[in-house]
Each structure stands twice: as structure tokens, then as C-alpha cells.
């Protein structure tokens, strides 16, 4: 039989086998219950519930003071400042300390860039600016009464102690009340028909304690105008997180409060979004050592070679990659989606009856709101990755915006491959917001208020921008347009279990996680044509060598015969 016939037979057999496969599948007798293997394994129920109960039972209050027994707090408090006055009778220096913190001043001067930052000065691409909107924004200020520029930042009783130290969970500062809680029964949310009872200040004052995920989260989980909106790695699912969401904060595990990492000194809380520590090579931080280090870094606890000896290659990554890059593979991993974009340019469209319009998405989240414009959201978001050395440059009010180019509200600085830079995961939030065409700067506009210039009341951009610009001490040119903006946020929370960290293959491949990151050679991603050519050449030479060697052996063997 010739080779041709052999191949022909092989093709025929292939066809026959395929046909047979289909036929067999068709006539296969049903498996009866008697000859079926019905092995049912008994699965042990997880024991986490009982251990959680134990954990909760073991958690007793460690405080040496029962504030409900203090004479100073046996009063019928009518306002927040009254509570603070009582607190200061014992904690005499507390307000003075708070006055020096970013939580109070909302100002921060970046030592590297010399830019004047802080909530007071930065324009973001969420609700944009505090200026002219203090009545609403100050719901997240640790003070009472910040309604306008006349607020007295030196008055000690203006400090709000209980917003951080409440343990009842019943204290809530509502937008529009200039940092006060509601002292009387009040409809909330507006027009909802639901009412919030007057805040029981006496009970709250008598129940104060340490800060908690809930107190910190009452602002930091709701940044940008709502739950899960701003950061992507901070939302209310971290109040009682499961293991999958955050291995440090897991309620049934380590149960870290925010303050466990964000150690405070004289009420100044460590860890900053304005000047993060991108690189920490000083190993484990000895608590109490006054070396000015940031205690919130991963390395402050884990050191900079945290992986076990049997995985030395992983430790070799730490000079290029931030811990967060691998250990927070996605953000917004809880049940809540984070906002990914906000287009103010579409705001102001009303329904056919001239009323505010809201369009909900498939999951019930608002996709369009006349007050705010269009939104997009996402869960399990794959971060963008950038080289970062800890310096962030902001586009501030007054900085030139031409309307043509995308405006980077902030830019993470870093040099590829430099010792002071690491590859960091970030959430990049994109949007469109107004800018003053004549002044060529991002516009400040008056968003909320009971006056007739607030955009949420009149949907009149001109009026809102005029008011906002005047509040910022600038003359509005009279013309505005919308410009595309983006703003980045470092991803540092929602640390996943180690089993869920990025795998080698997720980066070491074409179109992997680090596809767009320049300045570093990543095997599997980067093709060096010379290495490939040399490899091919070696393989070819080996083949030729084997062929020659084999040929000589055959020749010599035949010659020997």
C-alpha cells in the first residue's frame, strides 16, 4: 500500500470515527439508578459562625470610663456645640488638636509640589467644589456651622467630637445642615415621606468611644455624593466585611478598625490621599519609634520581603510593584458598584412635565439624574496601573484649561523603573464638567442651597457658575463649556485573600494586566526580537547538529557492514 493510500485510509477512518461518536452518543442507554454511582460526600458545615460568635463574645469593652456616669454628660443637650463644650471640660486639649488636622482645616500644602490642596481647594470631577456649597459639603466636616466663609475655625465648641466617637450608630450629619445633625424630626431624604427622628444627643454623648469602621465610613464610604461613589475601594460593605472582601477588616477574622493602620497622633490621622507613601523600603515599622514614617503602608507591618522563602521570586517583585497591585486584583468587590464616570454636561434635562428626571439601570442604580447628569458604574473593576512615586500634581482653580485637551484633575507622578517608583493600581474616574471659557479655568458652580442660584434648584448653569465663581473670588467671563476630565485614586483597601492575588499569568502575557505599563521588561508580555532570533538560531543549529551526527552514525554503521 502506497503512502497516498495510507493517508486516504486515515482520512476515511477519521470520518468513520466521528460518525461513530455521534451515533454512539445517540443510542447510549440511560444509566439506571441502580448502576449509577451515587456517592454523596458529607460536607462539614463551615464552623465560621460559631467562631464569629466566640469572637464577638470575647470582645469586651476595654475602656476604663463609662461616659454615661459622667456628671458633665447628664444634660438635655440641644445642639452639637453644647455636647462639645461638655467633652472639653475633661478633654481640654482635644479641640486644639483637632484644629490642626486636615479633618478640620480641609487644607494641605504638599511639601513636594507646594500646591495648596485639601477639600477646600481641590476641584474634583464628582460634586466638583466645596466653595459656595459648604452648607451641604460640611456634612462631612468635623465641625458645626460651616455654612460660608464666615465660619469661625478657631472656636473650640465648633468641633464635632461625636461624629468620630459615636458608638450608637444613630448620629448622622445631613447635607444642607452645615455640619449639624437634625435637632428636630425631619423628612429625609427630601420628598421621600420618611422622617428621621430628632438626634438624641444625650444618649450619643453618653455612649462615646473609639472610632470604628462605621464612624470613619460615615464620610469616607460616602465620598463623592453617595455610597461607593468615589474611591472604589471604600464603601459601606466594609462596615462588616467578609473574608473575600478584606482580609484585614473581616469581621470574623482580624477585624481591623480603620485606626489599626491609620494610627493617630494628637488627633492627626495618618495616611493621606494627597501625599501617599508609594515606596516603603524601611521594613517593619517599630511602633512608637518616632521616625516620621507612615504607619499605614503594607510594609509597616509586613516588611518589604513578605513572601515565604519558598517563593523568592515574589519578593523580587517588590522593587517594582506595589503590594496592592497583586493583592487587590479588583476593586469594588463588594455588592456595591462604584461610580466610574459622571457627565455633568447632560444635567438639566427635565421630563415632559418639566420635573426632575431620574433613569434607573437594570440593577436599580441611577443612570441619569436631571440634577447631576449621566453616570456609569462597575463592580469587580480591574484597576489601571501607573508608575507612582508618591507625588500627585493637581489641576487647581486658576490653572489653565483650554477646553480641547483632556484635563487631568490629578496626575500620579513616577518614573518607570526608578527606585522611588512602583507600579500602583488606581481607579481612574472620568467625567465632563464645566469650565469658564473666558478665564480658561475649571468652573466652580453653586450646586445646592435654598437660594435661587443653586443648580439643583434652577438647572441654570449660568447662574450657578456665576455664584460659584464669585464665591471663589473670580469674575465669571459669562461663557462656559464642558471639558473632559479624569481623576485617579490609589487603590489600597479591599485586600483580597492571598489565594485570590494576581497570578503570574495575569501579567506575564500579551494583553495582560500590565499591558500599558512602560519602562519595565515583563517576560511573556515583551517580545525582544533578538532573543527570539537567537533562540531560533540555537534550535536550528541543534537540529542541524543532530541531523549531521545521526547521518554520520548511519553512514558509519553501513560502512562497517
Amino acid at each position: 500500500m502506497s503512502i497516498r493510500n495510507t493517508l486516504l485510509l486515515a482520512f476515511c477512518m477519521t470520518g468513520t470515527m466521528l460518525a461513530t461518536t455521534i451515533a454512539v452518543a445517540n443510542v447510549q442507554p440511560p444509566v439506571t439508578a441502580t448502576n449509577a454511582v451515587t456517592e454523596v460526600k458529607t460536607v462539614q458545615a463551615p464552623t465560621k459562625i460559631s467562631s464569629a460568635t466566640d469572637s464577638k463574645q470575647n470582645k469586651k469593652s476595654v475602656s476604663t470610663a463609662d461616659h454615661s456616669k459622667f456628671d458633665e454628660l447628664q444634660k438635655d443637650f440641644k445642639s452639637g456645640p453644647e455636647v462639645t463644650t461638655a467633652c472639653l471640660e475633661c478633654h481640654t486639649e482635644a479641640a486644639k488638636q483637632v484644629h490642626k488636622t486636615k479633618h478640620w482645616t480641609w487644607e494641605y500644602i504638599n511639601p513636594a509640589t507646594k500646591q495648596k490642596l485639601g477639600k477646600k481647594n481641590v476641584i474634583n470631577n464628582f460634586c466638583t467644589s466645596v466653595t459656595s456649597n459648604q452648607t451641604f459639603c460640611s456634612a462631612c466636616h468635623v465641625g458645626y456651622g460651616w455654612a460660608d466663609d464666615n465660619f469661625d475655625f478657631t472656636k473650640e465648641e465648633n468641633v464635632d467630637c461625636v461624629v468620630c466617637h459615636d458608638t450608637t450608630g444613630k448620629y448622622k450629619k445631613l447635607p444642607g445642615l452645615s455640619g449639624h445633625p437634625n435637632y428636630e424630626s425631619m423628612e429625609w431624604p427630601p420628598h421621600s415621606g420618611k422622617f428621621r427622628e430628632a438626634t438624641d444627643l444625650t444618649n450619643i454623648a453618653q455612649s462615646v468611644g473609639k472610632t470604628s469602621r462605621k464612624t470613619c465610613g460615615s464620610c469616607h464610604f460616602y465620598g463623592g455624593g453617595g455610597n461607593a461613589v468615589k474611591h472604589g475601594d471604600l464603601d459601606s460593605s466594609l462596615v462588616n466585611p467578609k473574608h473575600y472582601l478584606d482580609v484585614h477588616m473581616e469581621t470574623e477574622g482580624l477585624d481591623f478598625s480603620c485606626a489599626k493602620c491609620h494610627l493617630s497622633d494628637s488627633h492627626e490621622v495618618s495616611g493621606s490621599r494627597y501625599a501617599p507613601t508609594a515606596v516603603d523600603t524601611d521594613g517593619v515599622l517599630m511602633r512608637g519609634k518616632a521616625d516620621g514614617r507612615n504607619p499605614t503602608t503594607c510594609q509597616a507591618c509586613h516588611g518589604d520581603t513578605p513572601h515565604k522563602a519558598e517563593h523568592p521570586k515574589l519578593n523580587e517583585h517588590t522593587d517594582k510593584i506595589a503590594c496592592q497591585t497583586c493583592h487587590i486584583p479588583e476593586y469594588a468587590r463588594g455588592p456595591l458598584a462604584t461610580k466610574m464616570s459622571w457627565d455633568w454636561s447632560t444635567a438639566g434635562t427635565l421630563d415632559e412635565n418639566g420635573h426632575r428626571k431620574q433613569v434607573k439601570g437594570s440593577d436599580g442604580r441611577t443612570l441619569y439624574d436631571s440634577k447631576k447628569g449621566d453616570f456609569t458604574y462597575d463592580r469587580y473593576v480591574i484597576p489601571e496601573y501607573v508608575w507612582f512615586n508618591g507625588d500627585i500634581k493637581y489641576t487647581l482653580f486658576g490653572d489653565k484649561v483650554d477646553g480641547e485637551d483632556l484635563v487631568k484633575i490629578n496626575e500620579f507622578l513616577g518614573t518607570p523603573g526608578a527606585p522611588d517608583s512602583r507600579i500602583w493600581p488606581v481607579k481612574t474616574f472620568r467625567g465632563k464638567q464645566p469650565y469658564d471659557v473666558g478665564n480658561q479655568t475649571l468652573a466652580i458652580f453653586h450646586t445646592a442651597g435654598k437660594d435661587d442660584s443653586a443648580f439643583w434648584g434652577n438647572y441654570d448653569w449660568d447662574k450657578a457658575i456665576k455664584w460659584g465663581m464669585e464665591a471663589a473670588g473670580a469674575d465669571y467671563s459669562g461663557e462656559f463649556k464642558f471639558v473632559e476630565t479624569e481623576m485617579s485614586w490609589p487603590i489600597t483597601h479591599m485586600v483580597a485573600p492571598k489565594e485570590d492575588a494576581l497570578t503570574c499569568k495575569q501579567c506575564h502575557k500579551k494583553e495582560g494586566r500590565l499591558e500599558g505599563v512602560e519602562g519595565v521588561y515583563i517576560p511573556g508580555r515583551d517580545a525582544n526580537p533578538w532573543i527570539y532570533k537567537i533562540g531560533l538560531l540555537i534550535a536550528l543549529l541543534t537540529l542541524i547538529g543532530v541531523a549531521i551526527h545521526g547521518g554520520i552514525r548511519v553512514y558509519m554503521h553501513k560502512r562497517g557492514e
Binding site: 500500500m1 452518543a25 462597575d378 480591574i382 485573600p497
Partner: protein, 181 residues
Amino acid sequence: MSKAFLGIILGIFITAIFIMNSAGSLMFNEIESPFGVEETAARIQANVQSLASNGWKLSGLRNPAKAVAFDGGNVMPVLLVEACSTKYSGPILKDSNTQILSLLMPCSISVYKKDDGKTYVGMMNSGLLGQLFGSKVGGIMKQVEADQKVFVTFDPSKPAPPLIKIKPGGGSAGGNDQGGC
């Protein structure tokens, strides 16, 4: 003779390679969705309901990722839209020779997010699968295949419908909440 034997062996080998390589991908179809996971699932649900004339009803919405999260792990979002049509399931369930195909009921369409951040829709290749079980099942599954194409045809001009959260086996499928199919 030995060459004939070699040809047979070679044929078996090629067949095995062919089946191993392509059977998996042939049995399932995967397409990319322009929408997020929830919206894709909701649009599929709406499309299923639009084919009520063919007996299609929703019979469940599963979230397997939730179970993994409960046990402490992370997986990308995934939703299983379950639908059933007694018009198609009835004849298959009536026949003892094909009753085993109840294993494939209800019809599941998976919506998931991958590591590239995009949303995908995965479905069984009903047409091909049906062919494996004779002409009767093959004929039914051909119709299911045609309907499946409608399920995953999205009209972006239409607003996002709400996601219908039905417990698996519930809903109105198979005769007003009688347990799915």
C-alpha cells in the same frame, strides 16, 4: 497490511485529537456583550419574555459568585439566566429515551465578566447538541437554537430593563410557578 493498520491507528489518533481540541468549543458559544453583567442579564431576560409566543418564560436567576464569596473567595461577577419553554421541554420529557435530557433544563445562559474587564455571554450550542440525540431532539433543539439567537440580540437604543430577580425554580416558567420547567 501493516500500512493499512497504520492508517487506522493514524485515523483514530487524528479523530481523538480533533475531538479533544474542538469538542469543548463546539458545544458552547461565547459572545461579547457591550453592556455590564447586570444589564446584559436583564436584556436577555427581556428578550426571553419577548418570545412568550414560543412558550418561553423565565425560571430563575442564579448568582454563583455569591456562593464563592460566602465561602471567602473572589470570582468575577457571573449571573445565570434560566429560562424554559414547555413547548420544547414537553416532547423531550415525554419520551423515556430522551428524558435524561432533563439534565439540560432549564435552558441556562451565563453572563460573566472576564479578566479583560469585558462582559461575555455563554450558551450551549443547542443545535449541535441536539443532533447527537436523534432527529426528534435535533429538530426541537434547532428551534431552541434559533430562539437563543434572539435572546442575545441586543438593541442599545432601548433603555436598560430592570433585572428580574427570580429564585431558581420559581418565576412563572412551566405553568405558573410550578417549579421551573
